[in-house]
Structure formats: structure tokens, C-alpha cells
Amino acid sequence: MSATRSLNIGAISFDHGHQNGYVSALLDLPSAQLVAASDTIPGQLDRMHAMLAAHPEAPEVKVFSDYHELLELDEVEAVSICSANADHAEMTIAAAQAGKHVLCEKPLSITLEEADSMIAACRDAGVYLGTAYPCRFAPVAWQAKQRVDAGEIGDILAMHGTNHLRPFTEGWFIDPQRSGGGTIRDHIVHVTDLMRWFTGKEVVEVYAEGDTLKRPHIAVDDVAILVETFEGGIIASTDPSWNRPENWSKWGNVYLRLLGTRGMIEFEITGQALVRTETKSGTVSSIDTSESMNYYLLKDFSEAIIAGRSPLVTGEDGRAGVEAILAAYQSIEEGRPIRLRDG
């Protein structure tokens, strides 16, 4: 649906660099515009100011150091929250109570209790809560999902995903009090969400190995591997490690391989997908696109709010990611697979 008007969005906190990606998308998006921004550290707004200065149609953006002042602006209809993980709950609840719709950066929260409070606060205030899982909006993932939904590879039987990164996480990312954990907290949510989205199934069981081995001096985990079971007995695994070398050719990756009853599909969100279906001729086809997933994430969020519907990725989706994170950490601590539900 084309937007009939533009949603006014405030950007709260640039602790997570993804906020700059969202600002960049907002500058080009017809259905939303940036009207305000806040951060307690002025320097963290420098990149936003540079983007605004370079854009020919940049809006006027009000800037605050205290996000509560941003929330007092009547013209702000929704906020994008990209703070350290530990602040997500407080900021989301404050925004909901101020009547603002919320797009919250992943992972949604540190604890399930926080996630439940955030969901409840938004529901009670009559505003929508979305979780920023941009990978769903990578065009290659989006199109792969359409083909899976069309039955091209049949029912999904097994999955493997990775979300690697070079070891450049610093600051609050490696402060366990502010982040709630390392590579497991930061990375399994993307892959787990894609797996949930593609299968329509929830995680049933998790066995995880995790440790701090790439950079032993940091206080959070930086390598991990999970073996998971989804409802219906779908077997899966995820490698979320921050273990790529400094001179690796890319920042990292988000890769997914799905095996179905009639074929398979694999893709990396910044590149190409290959679809192979089980026919006599072994049909192979590809999807090749690398447009901005942030653009489509904000497009869905803003158009959903304008249309009065929930965004594609909800607070409940964010909560499911937190559930998987906590199961992984519990598995590491207890040295056993953690059962989350029957399935």
C-alpha cells in the first residue's frame, strides 16, 4: 500500500549504530520522516547531522539530550529506540505511556519480564510495538520467503544459519550490565527470527556452547554454536560468533540454508539466493538483489502505523528472540539442552 501521509518519527539514542541506518532510510522514505532525535552523548549525533547536511531534502530535526523531552513533542507519533539493550524496556514503556508507537532495536530486552512489560505497556496505551529485525526485510530474504510460502521447496525439515562478525564490538556491547551478554545476545536473534518466520514454528529446545575465546579480555561471550529443535521436529543450528578475523573481506554475514521436502534454498542477506527444487531436471534458480533492508523495515513500520495495523515484526517476535537467548545461556550454564515447550 502506498502511504497517503508521512509518519513523524523520533530517533531515541544512537548507542546502537543501526540507528544511523534507520535515519538514512527515513531520509528517502515517503511514508515517514525524522522530526526529532535524542542522545545523552552529543558526539553520537554527529553522523546523523552529517547525513542531514548532505541530503537535499533533509527535514528540520529537533535535537535533545533527554529523550523525555522528545516524547513531549506532540508531532512525534512514533519512536525508533536504539539504546543499549538494558535501556530498551524503560524507554519503550515511557514512549508508550506518552502515546508513541515504538520500533525497538533487537534484542527486545534483557529479560522476559521486561519484554512482557513492554508488550503490555504498548497494548494498554493503544500503540504498536515493533521489533527491529531488518533481516526479514532484506529483499533476498523477502523473496525467498515468498517462494517458500508458495511451496517451492515443500515443508521445511532442517536449517542452518550464521551471523558472523569481525571482532569490533566495543563499549556497551561488551559490558554485560548494559548489553545482557555478547554474541549470543546480539546475534542469534536475527537467525532465530528468520527461522521462526520461514517455518511459522517456535523453538522447542536449545543446546548451546558458548565462551569468550576470540578476545579473552572482554566480559561477554564472543563465540557460540547452537543446535535447536523447532516445533514439528525441525532440526536447526546457528553460529552467531564474533569470530571473523580483522582482515576478513566483509563486516560479517547473515546466512540461512533451508532444506525442504521438495528442495532447498540458501541465501546471504547481502547477496544472492539459490533455490533448488527436487525435480527430474533439478531446477535451479536464483534471486539476486542487495537493496537496503533498513528502508523496507521502516517502510513496513510506518505504513503499518498509518494504516492502523501491527507492523510485520511485533513485540511478541522480539520476545521469542529473548526466550531463545535466555535458553542458550541457561544451556551453557547447566550443560544440557533446554526444553522450552512441547513440540
Binding site: L157, A158, H160, Y207, E209, G210, D211, L213, K214, P216, V223, A224, I225, L226, V227, T229, G233, I235, A236, S237, D239, S241, N243, R244, P245, N247, W248, R257, L259, T261, G263, M264, R276, T277, E278, G282, T283, V284, G335, R336, P337
Partner: protein, 298 residues
Amino acid sequence: MAEQSVILIGAENLAERLEAYKRLLPAESITILRPDGASEGRNTFLGVPVAHEWPDTSSGIADIAGDCAARAVSARRALEGGWRALIHPPFGDSYANAEAILAAAGGAMRVALPVHYTHKYETAAQSARSGIGDTITVRNIRVFPPAQVWQQSTFQLVEALYLLGGPIQRIYARAAALKSADTDTVFCNGRYENRAIYYGEMSAAYPSTYSKEVIEITGRDGMVEYDSNARSFWLASESGITLTEAYHQSPYEKMAAAYIESWETDGELASELPDPLPILRAYWAAMESIERNEVVAI
């Protein structure tokens, strides 16, 4: 290499095993044995005679694969007849049983470990010792269309993980029968004794047009990466990026030559052969984990 008589038992990878021996030994010294009593079927395979009775010769090498339950029986028969046995794992019905079979055989039995003689895996293991620092993660993925040699492949997954990362401390494994009546897919993860984390995936449930092999070792200072979608190994270390050609070369000739030579030298070279016991232990631990859905410490 001194003249040896060789009998080959078991159908899996038979052509590849046979070609390896044909390059090492005179063709007339090689026989394929079907010890199951079957008297029908072809009399030759790739120009080599197929026998249905154990030969009268009292010395030689029996290369034993085939039905897993029958491998130990064939090996015992070979040893009782004065032969040496190269047995393809898994064999026996438990680690303790496999260990006892090996101990009873003494130096007359060797365990076939073809991954150790596979160029890509040798290259990865060697590269990891040259400039990537302490190993922190290992991933080995081998997914391919339905194949018959399933149980042996599961063993080879464990063998590969051992070769790439060293002694395994614990294992968690899941198995599934996705496209056949028997297990065709195994996922496993766990720890090495040096704390590094590993992931192994083997599946024979993929479409006929697809296969993928990933060999990846990351270290504190770099990584070695092979993806069958590319031709080369990437070795990223502090000194930069090095590309090493990856190619397929049958491991069986190299493996058979190493084992034959170790016997010909009366065991002098035996210490240079890979030790099968830690791999057998890890394999049976994986089987136990699959059965109990628990992590199994080794």
C-alpha cells in the same frame, strides 16, 4: 612395496578403494570377497575377480568395510587366518567393544581413517597450525544428495572434527531421518579439550543438484576457510590473506600405502599413523548422545 595379497570386503566406496590398491599392487594380487555365502552375481568387478570363499593364502591384507555388524566378524576371520586387517569404522557395538577388538588384534589390525588422508582436510589442519593462533571454533559441514554409506559418513564427520580441532571433550548430537527410513542427517556441537567449540553437520537429504562442504577453523589471530562454492582455501592471518588451491584427491591410495608400509616395517611407522581410539570414543559418544538426547562427556 613388497608384493601383498589384498582382499576387499564391502561395497561402499569399493571402486575407489579398488583403484587405490591397483595403483599400489599388481592387479593379480587383488581379490574382492563376498563372504556372505552368496554364490550368485558377477565374477569380476572392474577387472578384479570376485570370490565367495576366503582364499587359501595365509598372509595378506583384508580391507574390510560392508555391513557394520559384520565388519568385526570379517576381521576376526582374517586375523585367525593369519591376515592383517584394515577395518573401516564403525565396527563393534560400543566403544568398549571396538577397543577390545583392536586390543585383541594387536598390531595386525589398523583402522581406516580416510579423512586424515584427504587433501582438503590435511591442508586445513596444517594451515590452522601456521598463523591463526589458538583454535577457537571449528565448523565442518557436508551436505549432499542421498547416499548409501550413511553410518560411515557419520563416523567421518567425527573424524574430521577430531582432525581439525584435536581431542573432543564433549558432544551433543541430534540425528534425523528426513528423507529415508534410516538416519540421514546429523547435527552436533560440543567442545574440544582446549575449550574450542565445534559444529558438525552431515546430511544425505539434499536435492540431487546440491552439495556443500565447509571446512572452517577460526583462531584467535585468523581463520582458515574452505567452502565448496569456491575453489580455494582462504587463510587469513596477521600476515595477510593467502589462497591455497583446494582439490579432490582420493584418500584411499595414500591411506593404503601408509598402512601397508607400516606393516612392512614391522610397526616402526605405526606411531606415525593417526590414533583411532579417541575418534572411536567420540563417535560412540555421539551415538549415545543421539540416543539419550543428552550431552555426553568423553
